[in-house]
Amino acid sequence: MSRRQSGRRKVFYLFHRSAGIASAFLGVIVFFTGALVVFGHDLDGWASRDRPAPSIADLPPGFIDRAVVTAQDALAAKYEGDFGTRDIRVGSAPGALTLSFSIPDDDKRADYVDIDPATGAILRAERFTFSDRVKSEPRSSLERFFVQLHVRLLVDGKLGLLLTGVIAILLLLLVGTGLYVHWPRRGNLVRPPRKSMRQWLGDMHTLIGAWSMPFTFILSVTGAFFSFAGAILIPVMIVVAFGGDQEQMMAIVKGDYGVSESEAVAVVQPMIDDARQRAPGTSIGRLQLNEWGGKEAHVVVSVFVPGYALSNRGLVYDGHNGSFLAEKAVLGAKPSVGGEVLRWIGPLHFGNLFGFATQLVWMLLGLLTCVLAGLGFGLWAIRNTERSPKGARVARALLGGCAGLPVAAGATIAAWGFAQGPRVWTAMTLAFFGSLVATMIGGALLPLGRCLRLLFGLGAAGLAIAPLIGFMVTGIGPFAALKLPEASHTAYVDLGFLLSALLLGLAAARLPGFEESLEQTTLAPGEPELLDEPATT
């Protein structure tokens, strides 16, 4: 290796270490909650298994047309005026058909109307920002809490997106510098970790990092895309590419499908029936009634195979006469490379490429990234034990926080169960961060091995009682759920909780034996913790 390469390697190694320490803790919260929300849809179904989301395709004929008119009348009466042209989204949520109506000149709020799928009556009609809407539903708030924690660390607005965007960029830089420092050769990828505690931590960190690197790269690039696109890039691009004309860009994104010239308003039901014939074997996702009541009125019927995001298709119908116009491209009116790129970005980030199998792999790899960060904190703690006791304590606190994430998740589920009502979001926030702080204090004060055993044990207990919490809230246990066709899949969520609890319990039980198997030796002078660690002094 040349002197120049060696110097660069040292700089990258130091950055990798400091950026890892600086970003890993918030990063671990993002990775852990991201791993949970891979199955967010199932978690939401589990939390509302007594009132499943209605299938749009199975609603009585004409139900959606009646629901749209009912909601429009209710909103016109509520706001005392002509209803006018709006974009309407029709979807399903636990126990309700939901309609959201855009508000002219207000891109932050929308009118949300929930319709009872059995009677067609309005359950509630409120004007919300998306963020407030998310917090307003106690039952669905469990999944949404973890989603908001993952997407914006519960910080509202663009600041939260910027925060997670910076974490994604730092993760990308950790991948890049880690690749340069520990270039994965065949030997590195299969080398068993050495037996000294601190070398075992370092070797496992390198080994897991090398194997999970392609996944981490994909997650960081797609995550940065989602965070920065909404927070800063799209507004900048609108200014540069479209001269600041947001409406022009939206018109291009929606696409011009050549709707007929008419004042008539089409009936939606025949479009749903036609979509089912054109895409057999798929489910109806949601309906977009764009420019509804206006000249450019058209309807996009989304069809998909659950768990296979790449199967998503949009069928476009004329909003005046109901005739089929075209299959919708991802962006704009015609298929393009950019649209195809965009079609892959979501599934690559969320793991719903090819159903349950890829979702499970994505969840496990996400959790592995948390383990990677935990090993890094462990290494930092042991390294500082002699050099800087204060630094070692901070590292142990952060490691305690990492290992305490299952405890925090269990506490959040318990808070959700016991605080069903308007204060559920506050209760979950306090439970999550309160237990995280408690686990960090435990990490700082207790010996490392004992702390990990305690946290794994508490995490196992927290996750083991989750099925009971679900039963307490919904009144339906896993065995009863198996007998309900629309809720049977939610029994697997209970199984997932119990399996995770079992694995954590096993980890807690086997930790002392594992600790004994490692040599508690200090390194000989000059002996590296990481096999390919560059000299930094």
Partner: protein
Amino acid sequence: MNSKAPRRRWLREVLILLATFVVALIVSASMTTFLPEGPARIDHVIFAVVAFPLVWALAFMLLLGAQRRRRAWIMTGAITVAALVPVIGRFVS
């Protein structure tokens, strides 16, 4: 060992991170002026947004790992100015 060295290193890393953010933002914005719009007429924006984190990471690693730092900064500055020209041209024309 110089006790100020780690702090100076941190400051340098943060400075490079901020500077390369600006570089990536300008280069990505500039991409929308010369990349093809495609049949959907919005491909140039999608490519630019996807490229943003990659440009940021690449520029950061080039500046951080540069052995001839001054030359690296000058090169990066020149690329940024070159990228800024078509962006400004959009507003002037």
